[in-house]
């Protein structure tokens, strides 16, 4: 189907990665446009005038914003292949709950770990690990959060895996020590082509963060 799909994105963004993974899972061809966030394109400002943020998914000229909303949109439009959300309403609610949990906790706490020091960083690390442990609990003995196949929560969470290296370096701790099951899960996800090709190298992400820290004068 010659559908026009464009993704406005920024390579280290875990939110953008979610959309890349979802599109790859569904086998959708699309045009990837890299944005310079210090010099946002007219297209980005036109397609996301409210938040002026990436990722923006443009389908047949119409924009969809916010990564969780985009992943659900992709799942609904291309519902025939690799469903990400389960069909049962209770299981769907559970998946949405945990995706929302990831959004409330992981990004902000992770950010605090690499931008702060001392007590503030210690508190962020503690809550970060607690959050990952709760996610481990939800994963249980399943292969993926989605069960036997990659699901919504997997797509939402796994992009943070290659940011774990950043948090570990900046926070001076090892996530695998605390959350071995979650690391094992992430490595399983990376065996999937859709995930492997959507996540940039963790060293590259770390290099980017070091540049940011320098630019913002963060120790």
């Amino acid at each position: 189907m010659a559908e026009e799909v464009v993704l406005l994105d920024f390579w280290p963004s875990p939110f953008g990665m979610r959309v890349r993974i979802a599109l790859a899972e569904k086998g959708i061809q699309y045009e990837y446009k890299e944005e310079d966030l210090r010099n946002k394109s007219d297209l980005l400002l036109k397609m996301n005038p409210i938040h002026k943020k990436i990722p923006v998914l443009i389908h047949k000229g119409k924009p969809v914003c916010e990564s969780l909303i985009q992943v659900q949109y992709i799942d609904e439009v291309w519902h025939g292949k690799s469903p990400l959300l389960p069909s049962d309403p209770y299981q769907r609610a559970n998946a949405r709950f945990w995706a929302d949990f990831v959004d409330k906790k992981i990004y902000d706490l992770g950010r605090k770990i690499w931008t702060t020091k001392g007590e503030e960083q210690a508190a962020a690390k503690k809550e970060f690990i607690e959050s990952l442990k709760l996610l481990e609990g939800e994963l249980g003995d399943k292969t993926y959060f989605g069960g036997d196949n990659l699901g919504y929560v997997d797509v939402v969470l796994v992009p943070f895996y290659n940011w774990f290296y950043v948090y570990e370096k900046c926070g001076n701790f090892t996530i695998e020590e605390e959350c071995p099951k979650l690391i094992a899960w992430a490595k399983r996800c990376l065996q999937k082509e859709s995930v492997a090709k959507s996540l940039p190298d963790e060293e590259k992400v770390y290099g980017f963060v070091l540049q940011l820290k320098k630019a913002f004068g963060i120790e």
Binding site: I50, E66, Y73, P89, R92, A93, N94, F97, F101
Partner: protein, 229 residues
């Protein structure tokens, strides 16, 4: 069909853990009322949370929690989508994925932008308050734009976004009264008109917490955030 419905109703057990004043709990009440679903309301005392609440929402220990046939769902927007998918009458989300995405976007905008900015304007002081007010003004402008040519955010009928914004219809006047400052004013005629329409809906008219009780509660909260110097 009628007998089948009665059978289904008899087998359903729906409980809602909420508080008398929580706007998040009220959203769920509106959705349940809109669809004509019978439920047991349990008003929690948040200073003394029940074992049931702690059992059903161990992650956040917050209300609202919907318990359907013993299975709990937390987070109001997650609950609203669950209700819409489980009981198909009077849908609050459209079928079309793009329209659905729009509803979700605006519901999220209320929760992550508009509501926090107005709450900041209510609770903060000095420079932080000025910043919150500026953010609220920006956010209200965007909401006003979105209402152009529409009766409700959902079009002719209310949708998920309307339910999310619904707190404005009955709570903003409480804030006005307590602070003496009208944040949703004549600069937003479409929003004011929408608030009127929403408050006239049967679900809103019959189910909002009593105004006077809300004023007392928020007056006390205001004084707590702005202690007399």
């Amino acid at each position: 069909m009628k007998v089948e419905c009665a059978k289904t109703m008899a087998a359903e057990e729906v409980k809602l853990l909420k508080t008398w004043s929580s706007l998040f709990g009220l959203r769920v009440v509106w959705a349940l009322k809109l669809k004509g679903i019978q439920y047991d309301a349990i008003d929690e005392d948040l200073s003394n949370k029940s074992a049931l609440l702690l059992q059903h929402n161990p992650v956040y220990k917050k209300i609202p929690v919907l318990v359907h046939n013993g299975k709990p769902i937390s987070e109001s927007l997650v609950i609203l989508e669950y209700i819409d998918e489980t009981w198909k009458q009077n849908p609050i989300l459209p079928e079309d994925p793009l329209e659905k995405a729009r509803e979700r976007f605006w519901a999220k905008f209320n929760d992550e932008k508009l509501l926090p900015s107005i709450w900041g304007a209510f609770t903060k002081e000095g420079k932080e308050r000025e910043e919150a007010i500026a953010a609220a003004v920006e956010n209200l402008k965007l909401v006003e734009e979105e209402l152009k040519g529409k009766k409700f955010f959902g079009g002719e009928k209310i949708g998920l976004a309307d339910v999310a914004f619904g707190w404005l219809a009955y709570l903003i006047c409480v804030f006005d009264e307590v602070t003496g400052f009208k944040i949703v004013n004549e600069r937003y005629p479409l929003l004011l008109a929408w608030m009127q329409e929403f408050s006239q809906l049967p679900i809103a008219k019959d189910n909002c917490p009593p105004h006077d009780k809300l004023v007392i509660k928020f007056q006390a909260l205001y004084e707590k955030h702005h202690p007399a110097k």
